[in-house]
């Protein structure tokens, strides 16, 4: 029966073999004097390396961070705080705007939208999607033929979109500037 190589013995002594492999190594080692002594030597070497090189006899070292490092870490925390508050502020603005638009719709624009958008939507749905471009080409004049008093409703989606983009990209914030930006200014 062939002997077990040193690498496998090391993995066995480190407990890195699978249960099946470990069982077969154990059976072999218990019956083979050569492999048994190899394993003992391997364990002794391992203990020697652990004791000599990795025992806890290192001289103590300060656990304190430098003042500069602490200041940088504080600055990073402040940036996180600022970003978080800015995100919350934008979400509040966004929700407020949605509520305002919904309120305006309910109060002022509902009739305009119902009289203009609903017929257009019904007309759109009556044609197949793939032919909609051809249909729009032939019927654009009718599609955009809306009562004169409702002309203001046409650019409304664009205004909404621009308003949304403005809110999402807004730089104004009621938050005080961070210490880092103060330092940069100084």
């Amino acid at each position: 029966m062939p002997h077990i190589d040193e690498f496998t013995l090391m993995m066995y002594s480190d407990g890195e073999l699978s249960e099946e492999e470990a069982d077969s190594v154990q059976k072999h080692v218990s019956g083979c004097h050569h492999c048994g002594s190899s394993l003992e030597r391997m364990m002794a070497e391992k203990r020697l390396v652990a004791d000599r090189f990795f025992s806890d006899d290192l001289p103590p070292l300060s656990f304190e961070l430098y003042e500069m490092t602490s200041a940088q870490i504080h600055g990073i925390a402040m940036l996180h705080k600022r970003n978080r508050r800015r995100f919350l502020w934008r979400m509040i603005l966004l929700c407020g705007s949605i509520l305002a638009v919904a309120a305006c719709y309910m109060m002022f624009w509902q009739r305009i939208w119902l009289e203009w958008v609903s017929p257009a939507w019904t007309s759109w749905k009556s044609h197949l999607f793939w032919s909609s471009a051809l249909w729009l080409n032939g019927s654009a004049r009718e599609f955009f033929h809306v009562p004169g008093s409702y002309v203001m409703a046409l650019p409304l989606p664009f205004f909404l979109l621009i308003g949304l983009l403005f809110i999402l990209n807004i730089r104004f914030s009621p938050l005080p500037p961070s210490r880092l930006s103060k330092r940069e200014v100084d």
Partner: protein
């Protein structure tokens, strides 16, 4: 030890979340929680006291800079050890490159091997070494030193070590085997040299 580590990981996740909310006071608590472990890695890989202190600061700064990338579903210590290991290895590589450049410069100036004359930096580095045994570990490749440290000091499995150093379990085993052999040989050689020098007196 595993239970203690699991508890420390849970605490670390809580502190990391507080830090990301902007509470800078959570970070010193995180540092205190893991500094002994991080320090044990640094001290085994870097021999100079001041180098170790600089690296310790650099590692925690990197942790603060990258904490938002940490996935709380994974154990914190593995993520932290990866940062610490990479910082140590980068430092050792830079140091080796500087030493090589010095050596080349010395040879270029003196047109002969520099073994006879030690450069001031080398002299200082040798003086700074706190232990002869640690100096013996310098013969190992930095990745092997890291693998040995993670195995013997942090008692990590081959799989865990592999996830930190980016190697398979078998590669970790092979390198560990080779490094142990080399270290044992160096230790025997060192003992023999000391025996010879003692006999000379």
């Amino acid at each position: 030890m595993e239970q203690e580590l699991a508890r420390a990981n849970q605490e670390a996740v809580r502190l990391a979340q507080q830090f990301l909310k902007g509470q800078s006071r959570a970070f010193p608590a995180l540092v205190n929680l893991f500094t002994p472990r991080v320090m044990s890695i640094i001290r085994r890989l870097v021999s100079g006291y001041h180098d170790a202190e600089d690296l310790h600061n650099e590692i925690w700064l990197k942790v603060a800079q990258n904490l938002h990338k940490y996935d709380p579903a994974l154990p914190f210590h593995s993520w932290l050890y990866r940062i610490a290991s990479n910082a140590c290895i980068d430092f050792l590589r830079k140091k080796r490159e500087i030493a090589l450049e010095d050596e080349q410069l010395h040879q270029h100036v003196h047109k002969r091997p520099s073994e006879l004359v030690k450069s001031p930096e080398l002299f200082l580095l040798e003086k700074e070494s706190y232990s002869e045994l640690t100096a013996l570990m310098d013969c190992l490749h930095e990745t092997d030193r890291l693998i040995l440290t993670l195995r013997f000091v942090q008692e990590m499995s081959y799989d865990e070590i592999g996830s930190i150093v980016g190697m398979s379990k078998n590669t970790v085993g092979t390198r560990l085997f080779r490094a142990r052999k080399l270290l044992k040989e160096q230790l025997d050689k060192h003992r023999e040299e000391r025996r010879m020098s003692d006999a000379a007196y």
